[in-house]
Symmetry: C2
Subunit: 404 residues, 2 copies
C-alpha cells in the first residue's frame, strides 16, 4: 500500500483540521505535500510549520507577507485564485482534498483532474454545480472522485463490492475504478433532521438564528448548520449522490435518523440494505478516501454497543420541509438549475442569519428564484458560474420585494 | 448472469420451503434440479410435482413407495444416506443447498464439494463440526461455500468488497473467490437475545419449555429456538463465522439486538462498521447465496423506514449465558471440541424439552462434557463423528448423574 501525497485546499477549516489530524494518525499512509487557505495566514503557517509541506497557497494575496514571516522553513508559496489551481497540480501530489466552501473549489478541482490527481471532495458545490463536468472530466482523465461527506462516504463503503476495474482510458498507469450500480434500488441518505425535526410547521415563522444554529449532533459552520435545519443540506447531498454514483434522482431518497450513527445506506435490488455506522467524526470519511481501497488501523474509537443510543428512522416531512422536493426538481432538471438553487439558498441563509428573512422564507426565496430560471442544459463552467451570479441577484430581488 | 441449477437437501424443512419460494420468485435465475428429504414422502412429492426436478432423494427407504405413488412424473429417485451423497453430485447441479438438521449433511456436503458443486450452507453442523475439513476441501476443489444463515449471509454481504479472485487451483474453469479479511477488526454477530434476555439469572431454574419456545422474532424449530434462548445458537454461529471467513475466534463477537433487523455487522480496521439490514425472512439470504455475486429483483418487501422499530444494541450477559464463552473456548481449542459441544448441547436440549433437565442445566451438561473431552487436533471426518457419539453418551451420563 502506497503512502498517499495529499494537497489540502481549505486547510484551516474544520475539514482541513480533521485531514491534518488523519495525517498525524496514519503517517505511513498519508503525507501532506501542500496546504492552501483563504486568508488565515497565521493558522496556515502554524499548520505548515508542523507538517512542512513543500508548497503552500494563500488566496488572499495581501496576507502572503504575514504567512512568509510566520514560517519556520521555506516552502514554495502560491497565492490568489490562480495559486489554488497551481498547488492543485503539484507534481508530487497523488490526491487533492477540496474542502473550500463555496464556488472557489470548482476551478482548482478541474485543474487537479486534468493534472491526473485523484479528488477527495468535501465541498458540496463541486458536484452540485458542476457534477456533470467533474464526473466526465474525471472519467476522461482516468482519475477517481472520492467522497468525503460522511453520507456519501458511507454509501461509497456500502458499494465497495460494486466496483469494477477497467483499463485506464488515459495515460495513467493505474487502473481506474467504476461503480456498477445496476444492483442498486435506492440510495438512502440519512439526515439528523435538524433541531426542528419535530416542530409544528406553524411555529416555523418564529424560529430565530440562535435556535437554528443549535445542531443536535455535528458541530459545523453556520451556513451548513442552517442548511441542516432547512434540509437544504440534504437536498444538496441528493444531487451530489446522483452525480457521484451515477444513480437517477428518483432512486435517491432521504431517511431521518436523529442519532447520526448510520451515515447512510444502500438498498439493493433484492430488498436487502447495507449501512455504514460510526461515531460522527470527519476523520473516518477523510481517512477512508485517502487509504481506499484499503483500510488501515487508527486511533479513532469504534462503536461501543454497550452505550449506543436507540437508533431511530423516520420518513422526512416533505411538505413541511420543501428543500428536499426542490432539490429533487433541481437534480432532475439538471443543467444550471442545481447551481441556481445552491446560490439562491446561500443568499437566503445569509439573510436569515442577518434577520432579514424568516426561516421558512429561505425555502420560498429559493423556490421563487428557481421558478424564474430558464435552465441551460449541459452548461460549461462559465455558464454555471453565470447562473450562480444571476441567482444571487434574483434572490436579493426576492428579499427586497417582500420583507417578512 | 447464469441460471443456477440447485439441489436442495432438506426440501421439506423450513429452509427448504423458503428455497422453493425463492425459486418461484426468481425462476430466470434459479432452477431446482434435485430435492431431498428425510422421511416426509408426501410433502416431498407435492413439492416435486410442482417444480419437476430431475432427481429426488428420500433418506427413509421404507417410504420410497409412498413417494413413487404420489409423483405425477418420473424423476430419478435416490434413497438412504448414500442417496443424499448421490443427489448432491448430480451432473447438472451447480450448487447444493444443505438444509439438513444434525450431522446428516456432513457427508453429502463433502461429496458435493468433491464433485465441484458450490455449497450453500444452512446447517450449522457442517462448519461447527467439520469447518476445517470443509473449507480445506472447498479450497482444494475450487468451489465456494456460501452462507445461508441470516447472520453469516449478512457478514458475507458486508465483506462484498473484500473478495479477491484468483485463478482456480483445480480443474474448474471459473475463478474461485477468496476473502481478504486483513482489514477486518471484528465480526459482530447480532443475536435477538431470546426470551430471557432481561430475566434475572436466579429465575432461570424455573424456566419451562413452553416459555423457552416463545421466540420473539423468528419462527423456527424447537431445537434452534431453545438454542436461541440459551445463546448456544449464537455460540455455534461464532464457530461457523470463524471457519467461513477465516477470522480468529477472538475477533468474533456477539451484539444483542432484539429487533432482528440488523442481521450482523463487520467492524473494520479503521473503526468503521458495515451492517446488513432487512426484515427477518430466510428468502433474503437464500436468494443472495444463489444469485451471488449479483443481486436480482424479487417480490420481498424492502425496509419501510416509516414503520421501523427503534434499533437497540447491547453487550451480552456473558456470565449469565455461559454458551458464548463455552463456544469461544471450543472454537479456540478447535479439533473435536466444537463437535463435542454441539452434540452435548443437542442431548441437553432434548432433555430440557423432555423436562429431564432444567434450563441452566443445559449449559452445565455441555460444560461438563467439554471438560471431560481430550480434543483431537486436525481430526478426520470419522474422528469427528466418533467424538460426536462419545459426547452424546457423556451427556446422557451427566444427565443421569445429577437430575435437577
Amino acid at each position: 500500500m502506497k503512502r498517499k501525497a495529499v494537497v489540502i485546499l481549505g486547510a484551516t477549516g474544520s475539514i482541513g483540521e480533521s485531514a491534518l489530524k488523519v495525517a498525524r494518525d496514519i503517517p505511513e499512509r498519508m503525507e501532506i505535500v501542500g496546504l492552501a487557505a483563504n486568508s488565515n495566514a497565521e493558522k496556515l503557517a502554524a499548520a505548515a510549520n508542523k507538517v512542512r509541506p513543500e508548497a503552500l497557497c494563500l488566496v488572499d494575496e495581501t496576507k502572503v507577507d504575514i504567512l512568509r514571516k510566520a514560517l519556520e522553513y521555506k516552502p514554495r508559496i502560491f497565492s490568489g485564485e490562480i495559486g489554488l489551481c497551481e498547488i492543485a497540480c503539484l507534481t508530487n501530489a497523488d490526491m487533492v482534498l477540496i474542502a473550500i466552501v463555496g464556488t472557489g473549489g470548482l476551478r482548482p478541482a478541474l485543474a487537479a483532474i486534468e493534472a491526473g490527481k485523484d479528488l477527495a471532495v468535501a465541498s458540496k458545490e463541486i458536484l452540485v454545480m458542476a457534477g456533470e463536468i467533474v464526473m466526465r472530466e474525471a472519467r476522461d482523465n482516468g482519475v477517481h472522485v472520492l467522497p468525503v461527506d460522511s453520507e456519501h462516504n458511507a454509501i461509497f463503503q456500502c458499494l465497495e463490492g460494486k466496483r469494477s476495474t477497467s483499463s485506464a482510458e488515459s495515460s495513467k498507469l493505474n487502473e481506474r475504478w467504476t461503480l456498477d450500480v445496476s444492483d442498486v434500488r435506492r440510495i438512502l441518505l440519512t439526515a439528523s433532521g435538524g433541531p426542528f425535526r419535530e416542530l409544528a410547521s406553524d411555529k416555523f415563522d418564529s424560529i430565530t438564528p440562535e435556535q437554528a444554529l443549535k445542531h443536535p449532533t455535528w458541530n459545523m459552520g453556520p451556513k451548513i448548520t442552517i442548511d441542516s435545519a432547512t434540509l437544504f443540506n440534504k437536498g444538496l447531498e441528493m444531487i451530489e449522490a446522483h452525480w457521484l454514483f451515477g444513480v437517477e434522482m428518483k432512486r435517491v431518497e432521504v431517511v431521518i435518523h436523529p442519532q447520526s450513527i448510520v451515515h447512510s445506506m444502500v438498498e439493493f435490488a433484492d430488498g436487502s440494505t447495507l449501512a455504514q455506522l460510526s461515531y460522527s467524526d470527519m476523520c473516518f470519511p477523510i481517512q477512508y478516501a485517502v487509504t481506499w481501497p484499503n483500510r488501515v488501523p487508527n486511533t479513532l474509537p469504534p462503536l461501543d454497543f454497550s452505550k449506543l443510543p436507540k437508533l431511530e428512522f423516520f420518513t422526512p416531512r416533505y411538505d413541511d420541509f420543501p428543500a428536499l422536493n426542490l432539490a429533487r426538481r433541481a437534480g432532475e432538471t439538471g443543467g444550471t438549475l442545481p447551481a441556481v438553487m445552491n446560490a439562491a439558498n446561500e443568499v437566503a441563509v445569509a439573510a436569515f442569519l442577518d434577520r432579514q428573512a424568516s426561516f421558512p422564507r429561505i425555502w420560498e426565496i429559493v423556490e421563487e428564484v428557481m421558478n424564474r430560471h430558464g435552465s441551460v442544459a449541459h452548461p460549461d463552467l462559465d455558464a454555471i458560474l453565470q447562473a450562480d451570479q444571476w441567482a444571487r441577484g434574483e434572490a436579493q430581488r426576492s428579499l427586497k420585494s417582500l420583507k417578512r
